[in-house]
């Protein structure tokens, strides 16, 4: 609890939100990159199915996605039971882990689509050229793909982070609204409004607004400064 402008408000939801968004972004960077690469290079007609699956969270109501995730992460369900075999204790629902898993699914298209488009725009012959210059697969990724697709990475990271910060439906379904555990900032604001605590809602909303504007300006600044010259 802190007091600002004479209003007493808990900042925990903000920290939790930033933590979930950061972890989600990191995970999606690690998982989304190979997935996007695989999709970008895929030529079989199966690609359409996978692309549709990846884009699903864009069209599905968050509550629907959240509902299915809630079912999947049920403490007696197969997912939790399997994790138990590997020494996992506790439960997925109404926990930080659950929030992150839900966010990863919810923000998947925001990571995969920009990366996929960046990879598709990458001329194959540059990778071929690197191979003929003795660059291994990983070497090619770090010395050719990464620098040429950095705009795509920047967009993917920004969108994933921002989208996770702003989510509501999925985290409410999967995480619930446990104070100091799973109450994220969007839910907290909703709570305050419900209780007609407009001052608290104003404060949190204002902070999120300022934070978002600053982050976006930073990103566009970086993009402008380190923009890739191609063509």
């Amino acid at each position: 609890m802190i007091e600002l402008f004479g209003i007493s408000v808990s900042l925990h939801p903000i920290w939790l939100t930033l933590k979930v968004a950061s972890v989600t972004t990191l995970i999606l960077l690690l998982v989304g990159t190979p997935l996007a690469w695989w999709l970008a290079r895929m030529q079989s007609s199966f690609k359409i199915v996978l692309e549709a699956l990846v884009a699903l969270p864009l069209v599905l109501p968050p509550t629907v996605l959240g509902f299915y995730l809630l079912i999947a992460m049920n403490p007696n369900g197969p997912l939790t039971q399997t994790l138990r075999l590997f020494g996992f204790e506790g439960q997925l629902t109404f926990s930080f882990t659950g929030l992150v898993i839900g966010s990863v699914f919810y923000s998947l298209p925001f990571a995969v689509q920009p990366l996929m488009h960046a990879f598709e725009a990458l001329p194959t012959r540059l990778l071929d050229a690197a191979a003929t210059l003795r660059a291994s697969v990983l070497d090619r990724f770090f010395t050719v793909v990464l620098p040429l697709a950095r705009r795509g990475f920047l967009v993917a990271m920004t969108l994933t982070f921002a989208h996770t910060v702003g989510e509501f439906g999925v985290v409410l379904m999967v995480g619930g609204n446990v104070p100091e555990v799973t109450r994220m900032v969007s839910i907290s604001i909703f709570d305050h409004v419900e209780s007609l605590e407009y001052a608290e809602a104003h404060l949190l909303s204002g902070m999120m607004l300022a934070f978002s504007v600053i982050v976006l300006m930073l990103v566009y600044g970086i993009n402008r400064r380190f923009g890739v010259k191609v063509g």
Partner: protein, 354 residues
């Protein structure tokens, strides 16, 4: 020595090379029309396409065995792409260093020396996007050489260039192939590039290797695919000598000498002369009072059947090289030209290939 039998399907196109064995010393040209499978074969040879099947070995080292494939980066090859494929996020120097950093440390000319040799030392710190087409290809060639390849592959490296840049780069490639001794696999559909560079030619058609011949053998065939709308061509090899008082420079050897005029006389490093069969006339006796400078005695070896009233006569020069002459079937009958007979070849014009 490149030996194997490769298949590769790309969409609806099927490459089925058939068994082949090619000596790779010097410049080997893959020649064929568009869509004949030259580039596909080169991708299969370099391992750039993972769907390649069959067998392939280079100098005894196994590169492909069934579906198992030695990755491209471990084949010690260099590759010059049609559009250079320079890394746009690096400067010219960055592109060259990319190759050098990954090359085996076996010595050989360094970055500055190679840049100087290909004529880009003043461009080293420029962005590659600011280069002209010819400059890009020079950088690509330098980059490929700096990776110290055992086999240098070039996929139509000149096709996007204007004629002047084309000529300059042909000379450069020819000289570099000789200086470095690195075997070159060169793709083109332009006969003039074959005649200029090739030691041997791999003819491709419809996804197959049709035949592998030395340039000399390829040009001796009456139906050679190297003959385009200009008709049959002879390529004579020799060296340039000092111009005499009249500005005429001799080209050839002890037994055959062709005198050249004008700008030709300055091209001192030229080693090949291109003569169109339709620029060669035949006479039974050595003509005495005639404006044509070059008369060479030949022994007629073969007369190809008439086409549109004209025949191609193949004659051996004194040094054993083949010279083709295109004359009318009427003249051939009238002069009584037949295999085994001797005659004089009158050469109206030649082109030095430099």
């Amino acid at each position: 020595m490149l030996k194997g039998n490769l298949t590769l399907r790309q969409g609806t196109f099927l490459l089925e090379s058939g068994p082949f064995e090619v000596e790779t010393r010097g410049v080997t040209v893959l020649f064929g029309r568009s869509g004949s499978g030259k580039s596909t074969l080169l991708r299969a040879i370099t391992g750039l396409d993972k769907h390649t099947r069959g067998t392939l070995s280079f100098d005894g080292e196994l590169w492909q065995d069934g579906a198992r494939r030695l990755p491209t980066q471990r084949r010690d090859i260099g590759f010059v792409f049609q559009d250079a494929a320079l890394f746009p996020h690096l400067t010219v120097r960055g592109n060259l260093e990319y190759a050098l950093r990954r090359a085996p440390r076996t010595g050989g000319p360094g970055l500055e020396a190679i840049a100087e040799r290909v004529g880009i030392s003043h461009k080293l710190d420029q962005d590659v996007v600011t280069l002209s087409g010819g400059e890009k290809q020079r950088v690509a060639i330098a980059r490929a050489l700096l990776s110290r390849p055992r086999l240098l592959c070039m996929d139509e490296p000149l096709s996007a260039l204007d004629w002047r840049a084309k000529g300059e780069l042909l000379t450069l490639i020819d000289e570099l192939a000789r200086e470095t001794g690195v075997p070159v696999l060169y793709i083109t559909h332009a006969p003039i590039e074959v005649e200029r560079l090739a030691s041997r030619v791999v003819f491709m058609a419809e996804g197959r290797i049709e035949r592998i011949e030395t340039l000399r053998e390829a040009l001796a065939r009456p139906d050679s695919p190297l003959f385009d709308e200009e008709g049959p061509v002879s390529v004579l090899e020799g060296t340039m000598g000092e111009p005499d008082a009249d500005g005429l420079a001799p080209f050839g050897n002890e037994r055959v000498c062709i005198r050249l005029t004008g700008p030709c006389a300055d091209k001192r490093s030229a080693t090949r002369l291109r003569i169109l069969a339709r620029d060669v006339s035949l006479a039974i006796d050595e003509p005495q009072r005639v404006s044509i400078l070059n008369h060479l005695p030949i022994t007629i070896e073969r007369i190809d059947p008439a086409r549109d009233g004209r025949v191609t006569v193949a004659g051996r020069l004194l040094d054993g090289q083949l010279l083709l002459a295109e004359i009318t079937a009427f003249s051939q009958r009238h002069l009584g030209l037949a295999p085994g007979a001797t005659a004089w070849a009158l050469i109206k014009s030649v082109a030095l290939m430099e």
